[in-house]
Every structure is written in C-alpha cells, then in structure tokens.
C-alpha cells in the first residue's frame, strides 16, 4: 500500500480542517491526487472508498444536499482508521548495540512514595526540602528512577536542595554516578556545573583528575575555582597551580593559593611567600595561615619584624604608617595559630614597647601578641601579659586565663585580690570601678554558664517541649579544688551577688545571710540573678522550707508584670513547692500573665491532684 500517498492525503485534510471545509469544494490539490486514488482503487477496495470520499468532498454529485463538514469528517474518519493500520514499526537508522552503563540500583519504591519525591524535585513550592531530606534518610535514592532527578537537583532553584544533592545525595552513589555527571557536564557553565565538578572530584578518584584539570584550565570562572580547589592534594598538578597564581582573575588566584598551601612543597611555599610581597597579600594571607610549612612561618616572622621596624622609622609619615599597618595585619592573619621562637621574641618585644607599637601598628598587633602569650604557658609570658594588662584593661582576661592555668589557687587569689585589696576598695576611683566590673565579669564567664535546655511544656501541651534558660555553675567540688577559699569573703565585700552564689558554702554563715538579704530585695524576676540566687541559697545550705518561703515572698511582691515565662531553674523550684502553699499560690496567679500564669496554674493543679491522692490515702 502506498503509505506516502495516504500521509499526503492526511496533510491535505489537515489543511482543509484548518481553513474550513467550506473551502473544500473544487480544491485543486485534492483534485490532483484523486486520479492516483482512483487508479489504486481498481486493485484495492480501500483506495476506492477513499477516492469516493475525496470525490464526494470536492465534486459532489448532489450539490443540493452537499454538507462539506459531513463529507470531510467521513473521509477523515476513514483515513484515520486506515492510517492507524499503516504505522511504521521498523527503525530508520542502522542498528548497533545499545550504549549502556549499568548501575547497581533497582526499582523498589511504590508509586505513592516515588511520586512524592519526584514532585518535590520537579516542582517549586514549600516543604520540598523536608521531603528530599526524608527521602534520602530513608534510602529512597537507591531507586533507579530517582538517579536522573538527583543529578537534576544540582540545579534546583532552591539552593538548599541543590547543596544537599551535592553534599549528600550524589556522593552516596559513589563512583557510579560520575559518568552521568560527566555526560552533562559543561565546563563553561555556572553554579550548577561547579557543583557537578565538585561531586565528580569527590567521587571520581584518580580517573577524573584529567577532567578536573581541563575544567580548572579552561572552564568558566566558577567551575575553575571549584576544580582548582579539588586539585589541592595533587602534587602532580603543582606546576599548573603555580601558573594559576598568575591568573588575571582574583578568585582563580585565591583558589590556587589555597591549593598550594595544602600541597606545601618548596615551590608552593616560595610562590605563596612571593605573593605575600605583592598586591595579592590580601587573598594569600588566609591561604598562608593554612600552610604548615615552618619555612614559611620563619619568613613571615622575619618580614613582620622588618615591617615593624619600617613602620617605626616612618612614624611621622601618616600614609606610610597606614600602609604598614595594613601589611602588618595581613602578616598577622597569615601567622594565625602558628608558633615559633622568633615570633615569641617578637611579640615579647612588642609588649615591652607597648606605647611605641600601639601608636604605629595598632591594637591588632597587641591583640595577636596577647593571644600568643596566653598560650605560651611560661612565667615569662605571664609577666609580659601582666604588663599588657597594666596598659590596657582589655588584656585583663588574657592575663587572668593564663594565670588561672599557671598559678596555684592561693597564688591566683593573692595576685588578683590580696596584693591589691586596698586598691579594689577605692570606690570613688572611676577607673578602678570599671576595672573591678570587668574583672568580675571575667570571673563570671569562667564560673557560670547559661545553656538552653528542652523542658516538656507540661503547662499547655505535655507532648511538646520548650527551650528554657538554665543556669550552670561550676560544681562545688571543682570550686573547692581550683579556687582559694578566701574568694568568698572578698566577693561579699565587693557585693558580687552572682559570684557569691557560686562560692557559697554551708559553713559560711555570712554568705547565707548575704544571699537571703539579696533574695528579699529581689524585684526583677526577669533578671538572671533571680535564678542564680535560688541555686546560691541551696549551695549555701539554706533550709528548703526557708527557700520556698523566700521564693513565695518574692513571687507575691512581684512588681514587673511583663514576665512571660519562668525559666528553667525557677520552674524546677516551683514544681517542688509543698502543697501547703496552694492557697497563697491561688491568690497570686491572677497577677501573672502569658505562659507564667499557665505554669503557675499547672503547679496549682498538680498540688490539687496530690492533695486528692493524699486524701484518698488518708481515708483508706
């Protein structure tokens, strides 16, 4: 059968459908085809029927009853049926084996589970990230049908999903996924391609190094940066990395410096050092900080020293000093975390000449010196820190932390309190008061922490939890072991309530009365010291009944009405109130609002329950 002719007729009918069947009468194209159909119709009846149909459409015998639409529809129906039996099934090109790369995945997910993930990865909208993460945790991505979508996810408009695909999903396939990524990898692309090369580099191993190298050399900027960083531990590409440090683009140079810092070969270190002398100092300094080469450290220290001298000799020229300061700061960045004897010498010298260097090099240099000395752990360094502390109270904390590590408890107390006790007493001296405040806050940082902890929200929805602030003080045994017992007296002397709570002891009646007084004066329930005081009273060995009474008194006298919630420790104390307080509690609940009221109500309810139980037990 002549399929081509039938297809041609189909196209002509389609044309008439678009133009309208009213125009079919006498259509010359169909007219031209008609004889062919008639001729074929002599042998095959189906062509004869088609020929009749065409004739009825373009040259109707009975023009009176002619319905162009009806004729066209009839002919089209007949042709459609015929064409559907003529479908070609044979391939058009030459056949060869199917190119395939097997993966060890199977298809195991049912429709409902699979479709949810497919939807999350192919649409936009909320909650998609959760679905994807959940699917990954459940191992759903081991289903073959999600592989292509996982690769596609690298380009997801929601960057969290794209990053998750890059960091978790795709690496989980291992080396198997690499060929598929390479298939669609376009080195000239943007962020998506950069993510691809990242996975290729992570999962591909040795085999893909060449590809990464190509990408690093000739890709787009984003791709190059990622690729260069991937070459970081490949010494064989060191020469290329060296040449990239001369690239025009800053990001490329930065990536190359970082890679060289990891390689840490002689040439690499030299190149980094060389760059530190030039304009790139800004971008290379961080890379240098990561490099573990001792040679580089030595050079950096030497240059820092020279730069300092340079700054000193030019201290009249403001511009030059500024330039030097800039350079010095970069050197300090590069030296972060590094230790070396010459550097120690240098920093010691800097502290000795405090006023000289503070005016030429600035605070950053001295901060770096203090940082270094704090971790030196030698008495000499400690002395240096003390001298720094004399110049500026900001170094008090460095010195104190170093002292705490190096001195015995008694020595520490003597140094910081005993020897200067009278000085601390000078209440009129503003400087001293400021320093005292600072000192006490350093102590607090050492001794008290305020972590947040999850508590079950018993007062409104027991199945949920709420974060509440807690107070954590250094445990009593540690305090006794690491701190001199004389601190307590002094702390009462300077009225450091919170610290007194930490140091309070049952055998120290003065601390008991001090804290009880404080508790009575307590007005602001939102203040942290309210909770600390409760703990302090306990530590001071004050009787539980007195503590409960004190707590009740404070709650009843409360003046700040904007308390939202009772924080962790207060709440714990409330839970422990004996039910004799029930009536007093009932009286004051109305004064509170928000969660605080619910919490109190809950406490009251619990008391009621206990009372009932006690009543039952009694009656039995």
């Amino acid at each position: 059968m002549s399929t081509a002719l039938l297809q041609e007729l189909h196209q002509e009918l389609r044309r008439i459908y678009i133009a309208g069947s009213d125009l079919a009468l006498g259509d010359y194209r169909l007219k031209r085809m008609l004889p062919q159909f008639q001729q074929l119709g002599e042998r095959a009846p189906i062509f004869r029927r088609l020929a009749e149909g065409i004739a009825a459409l373009i040259e109707p015998a009975d023009i009176e009853n002619y319905q162009s639409a009806e004729q066209l529809q009839d002919l089209n129906l007949l042709l459609t049926s015929v064409l559907r039996t003529q479908g070609l099934t044979a391939p058009q090109g030459e056949l060869g084996p199917l190119e395939h790369r097997p993966v060890s995945l199977s298809t195991f997910l049912p429709y409902r589970k699979l479709a949810a993930v497919e939807e999350a990865l192919t649409t936009t909208g909320s909650n998609r990230y959760e679905v994807v993460v959940h699917a990954f945790e459940e191992g759903m991505f081991r289903d073959l049908r999600l592989l292509a979508l996982a690769v596609r996810a690298l380009g997801d408009p929601y960057s969290e999903i794209a990053e998750f695909a890059m960091q978790k999903i795709l690496p989980s396939y291992g080396a198997e996924v690499v060929p598929y990524l390479i298939d669609s990898f376009d080195p000239m692309g943007g962020r998506v391609e950069s993510r691809k090369i990242q996975v290729i580099g992570q999962a591909g191993g040795e085999d893909v190094l060449d590809l990464i190298f190509q990408a690093a050399e000739s890709g787009s900027e984003e791709v190059r940066v990622t690729a260069i960083r991937l070459l970081a531990d490949q010494t064989s590409y060191a020469s290329a990395l060296l040449s990239w440090t001369k690239d025009k683009k800053k990001a490329i140079r930065e990536a190359a410096y970082h890679a060289l810092a990891v390689i840490n070969s002689e040439a690499a270190v030299e190149r980094i050092y060389e760059a530190l002398a030039g304009k790139d100092i800004e971008i290379v300094a961080e890379a240098a900080a990561k490099c573990s080469s001792e040679q580089l450290t030595a050079w950096l220290v030497r240059d820092l020293g020279e730069e300092l001298k340079h700054a000193l000799s030019n201290k009249e020229d403001k511009k030059k000093v500024e330039a030097s300061q800039n350079k010095i700061n970069h050197f300090l960045t590069a030296l972060e975390g590094k230790r070396n004897d010459t550097l120690y010498e240098l920093f010691s010298e800097v502290t000795r000449q405090y006023s000289l260097y503070i005016s030429t090099a600035g605070l950053d240099l001295l901060d770096a010196a203090a940082q270094y000395l704090e971790h030196e752990n030698s008495s000499e360094a400690l002395e240096a820190l003390y001298s720094l502390e004399q110049h500026n109270t900001r170094y008090l904390s460095y010195a104190f932390r170093a002292s705490f590590r190096q001195l015995s408890p008694a020595q520490l107390f003597e140094h910081y309190v005993q020897s200067v006790r009278n000085k601390w007493k000078m209440k009129t001296n503003k400087e001293t008061q400021k320093k005292l405040k600072q000192f006490l806050s350093i102590l607090e940082q050492q001794l008290i922490a305020y972590p947040y902890q999850l508590y079950p929200s018993l007062w409104n929805s027991p199945e949920e939890t709420t974060y509440l602030r807690k107070v954590e003080m250094m445990p009593v045994e540690q305090v006794a072991q690491l701190w001199d017992s004389r601190w307590l007296d002094w702390l009462i002397e300077v009225q450091a309530t919170q610290l007194v709570c930490v140091f309070a002891r049952p055998d120290h009646s003065e601390s008991q009365s001090f804290l009880m007084e404080r508790m009575q004066d307590m007005t602001n329930l939102r203040h942290q010291s309210f909770e600390i005081l409760l703990l302090g009273l306990e530590r001071a060995g004050v009787d539980a009944s007195i503590r409960s009474e004190l707590l009740m008194n404070v709650l009843e006298q409360k003046r700040s009405s904007n308390l939202y919630t009772f924080e962790g420790h207060v709440l714990e104390c409330l839970y422990q109130l004996p039910f004799t307080y029930q009536d007093r509690l009932a009286d004051m609940i109305q004064k509170y609002r928000y969660s605080a009221r619910e919490q109190l109500q809950y406490v009251w309810n619990e008391m009621e329950k206990k009372k009932q139980e006690a009543f039952v037990v009694d009656s039995v």
Partner: protein, 479 residues
C-alpha cells in the same frame, strides 16, 4: 495477637499525607489510653484532637485481613488519621492494656454478624437477588435525550469544521465550553469529556500548529462516536427491552457507569482469578476532571493483561484512597470485566493478597508474545477502530535491545523483527533513559511490558517500555 507491618498500614491509608499525619499523632503522643480486647482482635484508644473531648477510635480485626477502622472524629477521610495512628502506635510497640470491648463496638459487631448471617442464609437458600426493576419510560426518555444531545454536538462540530480550525478564537472556545456544560443535561458524560478534551486542546496550546494533528484525530474519534452512538441509541429505542450493549465500548463512551451486577448478568465475571500487577500509573486527566489510577495486571492462568482503573474526581480526590503500586499477588473470588478488546478494564471488590513468590515471577514470561509481527497485526487491528483503547499493552519477549544511529532504541524478537521504543509524551513520563542504566543481562532475553501508541504526525507505531522481567526480578520502569 494481631500481626501487621507498617507497609500494610500504609496501604490502608488513602494518601501519603494521611500516613504522615497519623505517624505525627504517635510521635506527639496524642493517644491517651491504648487498649486491646482480651482476645486481641480489637484495638481501641482515645486520641486527643482539636475538640474539647477526645476522639474514640478503634480498629476491629475480627476479619484479620480486612480491619474495620472506626473513629468519632468528624473527618470525611476514611480511614482517618486517628485510627491509622492507632495502628502505627501498635506497630511502634506502645503498651496496650487489656480492657473489655466497648459497648458500641460490641453492638456494631453484632449487627455485622447478623448481616453476614442473613447474606449466607440467602445464598444457601439459593435465592437469586431480585432483578432490578427498570423504569422503561424513564429510560426511553433518557435515550431520546441522549440522541438530542448527540444532534447538538454534531451541529457544533459541523460549524467548527465548516468555519475552519484556524478561525477558532476566544468567543468560539466560550461557546464550546457552554456546550460542554450542556452535554451533562443530555446524560452524555462521555461526550462531555471528549468535547472538553477538544476544547482544552484548542485553548491550552501555546502553538496551535502543534496540536492541529491531535485536534483532527480527536474530531475523527468524536465523529465516529456520534455516528456509532446514534445508530446504537436508535436501535436501542426500537428494542422493547432497552438492553445494554455489553460487547462494544459504546456504553462507556456514552457515559454509562457499569454496575457489577450488570456485568455479572451479561456473563462478564470470572471466578477465582489470580492477578499480578506488572505496572501502575496515576495521572491527571483534565478532560475528565479526574485523577486516574491505572493498574496493569496479568491474569496468572491465561496471561491476559487487564487494566484496573480508578477515577478520583477532583472534588472528592482528597477523601478518596489514592491507589498505589501493588507488589503482592491478588486472588479474587470474582473478577468483573468490562466490554472491550485488548486489556479490558476489570474490577474486583473482594480480594486476598499474598506475597509474590520469586518462582512465580519466573513463570510470568511464558506469556510473553514471541512474534512481533503477530502482535503488531493484532494491535493495528484494534487501533483501526477509533473507539477502542488507543494505547494497548502487551507483554513482549525481547531477544535484545539495540540502538540505531538515529538515536532510536529498538527491541528485536527472536526472528529479528524490530520494534522502535519511544516515550509517550502524553503522560509526561520517561522510561527510555532508564534503559541505559541497566546491565546487559537485563537487556537480553527478557520480557517487557510495553504500551503502544500510533503517532499521526510521523505515521509511526511505537511502544513505550513500562516494566522489564528478568528471572525473578521485576524491574518497574514506570511505577
């Protein structure tokens, strides 16, 4: 003691959201009191909801494979999240205390028992269910109305064809949409769907040129439908019994919803049939305004491939159970078949599932067709009729999978007959790319369930692979 797995509970849930919400309730510990009856056939509990009092939910396992889930919550979703959560809590190992069966459930059990008794009594007595009374006058009226509707549709199509598809603008589309609504008044649900399909084709295309071929094909289908429909309805009017046509698909095209009793009456019911699902798909049919869940099943005794179709109207979709891929073998006492040719639609009400044994999967390929020439002939013969299913499914034996230099994927049978595979764009799914991930053994000497499609534009008949069977493995490329 009740034994169940979480996948069993999953399968009870109507959709994934219900599963998630139910598990959420367990996690939030919303169940206050968890009880089970002494014989362990009933689980019941109170669950905290948004209302002032707790919901009473229960799961009755008096028939272990067909639990009855009840709940006092007002949700229209069945089973609701509370009763599902009750089951998840049970699987999760929560402590259930033993308690007496609540009165209301005992009463319900009793009622159900009585119902069963009555039923069995009826069947044992051999009492045939009363034949349905058909109101002939009303039916006649309906048929007349349907004929009228077909006439209206014909007139509309005539004017569209005369004026040309190129002239269809927004105004014409609006007229068409009005006709879509009218079709409902003439009891022509099928015509309504087809006209809506045509309207959607014309109104939603960005580039009309691309859809004209489909439109012309759709017009052919509708023309055939009107012709056949008129002839059939006219003869039906003449027939004093006004019987249904149980041999062709015309009743379905007109919008008739077959009743199982009707099908049984016409001898379209098979007894004791075992089915294995080979593939599944769910899609949104905007012309029907329904979601469609289609399952493709192999009848284990005959090797015939059937389709189960569930329609979920948009409006009720939230409350209806979304079907899912089914991995177990299904045995049903009665399988109802719809009229049709290849891959008839089937339905079953009662069923028992059992895990599919791997050696049973190994036996499935014996039903695979080995000669593509024969298959293609059969498929074309079906496609010839515009009112038959245009996408027949066949399980083929594939000797090897190849590739042409024009990027066609081709399968070959043992005699070297070829068939081109192609993804069918109509449902948006792609399975061909997956073939490149398979191993050589999964591509040689395998069985493949394919779905055929004839493309009018290119004049090619191609097949889309849905599932590959190799040894004991069933590799579902679709769902």
């Amino acid at each position: 003691m009740i034994e169940m797995t979480s996948s069993f509970v999953d399968s009870l849930a109507s959709n994934t959201a219900a599963i998630k919400n139910a598990q959420g309730l367990v996690k939030k510990r919303s169940f206050v009191q968890l009880h089970q009856s002494e014989d362990g056939t009933l689980l019941f509990a109170e669950c905290k909801g948004s209302g002032s009092s707790n919901y009473q939910c229960s799961a009755d396992f008096i028939q272990p494979d067909k639990p009855i889930l009840r709940c006092s919550c007002p949700s229209r979703q069945l089973p609701c999240k509370h009763s599902l959560g009750l089951l998840y809590a049970y699987i999760g190992g929560e402590a259930y205390t033993t308690a007496a069966v609540p009165e209301d459930i005992a009463a319900k059990r009793e009622k159900a028992e009585k119902r069963e008794e009555k039923k069995s009594q009826q069947t044992s007595e051999g009492a045939e269910p009363k034949p349905k009374k058909v109101n002939k006058t009303a039916l006649k009226k309906k048929v007349q109305s349907q004929l009228e509707g077909l006439e209206v549709l014909k007139k509309l199509l005539r004017s569209l064809v005369r004026n040309g598809l190129g002239t269809i603008d927004k105004k014409v589309i609006k007229t068409m949409q009005e006709h879509v609504k009218q079709m409902g008044n003439y009891y022509l649900a099928g015509a309504q769907t087809e006209l809506r399909r045509l309207t959607l084709l014309l109104s939603e295309a960005d580039d009309r040129e691309q859809v004209y071929t489909d439109v012309v094909e759709q017009l052919a289908v509708m023309h055939a439908f009107i012709k056949k429909g008129r002839a059939y309805l006219t003869s039906k009017l003449a027939d004093p019994t006004l019987a249904l046509d149980h041999e062709s698909t015309i009743e379905e095209w007109l919008g008739h919803a077959w009743q199982l009793t009707d099908l049984k009456e016409y001898g379209l019911m098979k007894e004791q049939v075992e089915l294995v699902q080979l593939a599944f798909v769910s899609y949104d049919d905007s012309a029907r305004q329904e979601y469609v869940d289609e399952g493709y099943w192999l009848e284990r005794d005959s090797g015939e491939i059937h389709r189960t179709i569930q329609y979920r109207p948009y409006k009720a979709a939230k409350l209806m159970r979304e079907e899912d891929s089914f991995f177990d073998a299904v045995r049903t006492p009665s399988l109802y078949q719809y009229p049709g040719d290849m891959n008839r639609r089937v339905r079953f009400e009662e069923m028992a599932a059992r895990p599919l044994d791997s050696h049973e999967v190994v036996h499935i390929p014996k039903y695979a067709e080995r000669s593509y020439t024969d298959v293609i002939k059969k498929v074309k013969n079906q496609l010839k009729n515009p009112l038959s299913n245009a996408n027949p499914l066949v399980l083929l034996h594939v000797a090897e999978v190849m590739q042409s230099n024009q990027d066609e994927v081709v399968i070959a049978d043992e005699s070297g007959q070829h068939l081109v595979l192609r993804d069918q764009t109509s449902n948006g799914h792609r399975t061909l790319p997956l073939l490149t991930h398979l191993s050589s053994s999964q591509l040689e000497d395998v069985s493949m369930l394919v779905r055929f499609e004839h493309d009018m534009d290119t004049g090619r008949l191609t097949a889309m692979p849905l599932t590959i069977l190799k040894d004991a493995e069933m590799l579902r490329l679709l769902y």
